[in-house]
Symmetry: C2
Subunit: 336 residues, 2 copies
């Protein structure tokens, strides 16, 4: 266990990171110092946010440095510990990077995973940042009411699918927007959307939304910030709440792309558009995870995973994500 | 008193209403029916919102019909009444139209003006819709905290100047943006802004704002929705609150003008952009007016009026407003 394969950031991408921006190296593990914990990663996560993490443009997180291990959430098991709070065998999740083993401090560990009846991989999705994002992003900034018409973009994605299901649990009517017939079918069959729209197949998404939401859109949970949003904005109900959770449809914000100005629509509809970053809610994560675990155990919440085996599949995985090739939370499994 | 001069909407403007879109006619007053009240207008109001009221494009109010009396707030005195709740001599304010006399029902009357120590004309400004707009628009949707850096566009205007002063009363640092040296001087001398910026004289408003708000803009109260906003958006602090109260810098929203997409800025700064319409808060108007009257009596709140005499000055007054020619709330006085 002394050899550690690591995925390093080799060059800074202009736009979406590709496999060529990374390199895999093998390094030797050093000994643990006092207070450190050695985690053997079982699953690595792949996030849309990674585009931002490797961008030199100022963002809400410091960029990953060139030559550094790619920042990543991961989940695994403590295999050695010089910290009294963590014992060998503990399952943990946190910011462990794209590598086999991570030498971490307690500050890098998000939490011990105690829900042993739920698969460990879920701690990188529905029982992790995706679930926490969906829970607070939807409940706090969309502030849904029973009967509200809720539109979710990237509706079959790991955050979007959770939002759609939580919205149903809140008594809302749910409209999912996703790309391609497979994802539309998933929206209807697995995630319980009342209506699922394939934005690629729609010649007039705005009209399709008007048809699906005749009294207007009360809540819009968005991960795209592009033409899908423009179609939703044209259908807002008075008092609509928009949550900006991601901007997946925009390849580069430097400079920002042009779009129709939103101010008059915001004004006339007395709408509210809020940016949401899950990290602002991490101090309340147990509140979300307790409720999410309850819904999972009651069979009310489903999720999908798209798992590839081996660290070699990591470098190209962000680009795959942006091509929309995955059906479910994109994970990399390092061992069984 | 049987002859009533009225300003009628003659044709529908494409953009900003000009004098030629109206005509003045003289009609004969009919007798009052049961429940009606005859109001003799003393002051008529001129509002930026009038552009929307005469536009055929769906808006938050039904458009004024061609041949109808121009919709307007006004203030005056009851001169005849067949309603038990209103007596001759009562001062009232409400939606009375651009005319000498208005036959109204109780539903058209916003309130009786009981603050006899404050000039009646104030009921069309600081003690009326402008004050209520500033009060709730700023306190409720900007949610200021002491020490916040507050930027106000149209800072010397009747709403903006009230926002700037309320912000100071709340312990905020205030930055006013207005056009021309006269308004900048007003901002500093009368309305107590900490910094006043002339957007016409700035070659780089974005940099000037960065200099005035080194820790970023916490609250932005906007009436413009154009390039001034773009400069403010580039300087937001994390957690910024933006209130869209008006869109004065945009001559036509059909189609909406293009601008830099705001979603990533909203996301990264976890900002909140809210549309504000004072009518949503009219059920709480006495709460605002009580507090505003208290501030006025304590000498904490100043306002300016720009009054022209005679109903003949009404038709061209909206265009004057959009040219930014007025210094203070634009009113038309019909009699002393």
């Amino acid at each position: 266990m002394s050899a550690n394969r690591q995925v390093l950031l080799k060059s800074r991408p202009d736009g979406i990171p590709q496999a060529a921006h990374f390199e895999i190296v093998e390094t030797k593990l050093r000994d643990l110092r006092d207070g450190e914990i050695l985690v053997r990663n079982q699953y690595l996560s792949v996030e849309p946010a990674m585009r931002g993490w490797v961008s030199a443009v100022a963002n809400y997180a410091q960029p990953v440095g060139l030559g550094e291990v790619m920042r990543s959430f991961a989940t695994g098991e403590v295999v050695a510990s010089k910290h009294a709070g963590f014992a060998v065998g503990d399952k943990v999740t946190g910011s462990f990077g794209w590598q086999d083993y991570a030498i971490v401090t307690a500050a890098d560990i998000t939490r011990k995973v105690t829900e042993t009846d739920i698969p460990l991989s879920a701690s990188l999705g529905i029982m992790g940042l995706n679930g926490i994002t969906a829970y607070f992003g939807f409940l706090e900034t969309c502030a849904p009411k029973p009967g509200d018409c809720v539109v979710v973009s990237t509706a079959a994605g790991s955050v979007g699918s959770a939002v759609g299901q939580i919205a149903k649990l809140m008594g809302c009517r749910t409209i999912g927007i996703s790309g391609g017939p497979q994802k539309v079918q998933l929206c209807l069959d697995e995630f319980g959307y009342d209506v699922a729209l394939d934005y690629r197949a729609q010649t007039d998404l705005r009209a399709a939304l008007a048809n699906a939401c005749p009294r207007g859109v009360d809540c819009y949970f968005d991960n795209t910030s592009g033409p899908i949003s423009d179609a939703v904005y044209a259908n807002l109900a008075a008092g609509a709440r928009i949550t900006i959770c991601g901007t997946a449809s925009v390849a580069s914000w430097d400079p920002p792309p042009l779009g129709a100005r939103v101010e008059r629509m915001i004004l006339v509809k007395r709408a509210r558009m809020s940016g949401f970053l899950a990290f602002d809610y991490m101090h309340r994560k147990e509140e979300a995870l307790t409720r999410l675990a309850g819904w999972i155990r009651a069979g009310h919440l489903r999720w999908r995973e798209d798992i590839s085996d081996g660290i070699e599949s990591a470098p190209g995985a962000i680009a795959e994500l942006y091509r929309g090739e995955n059906l479910g939370k994109r994970l990399i499994r390092l061992h069984a």
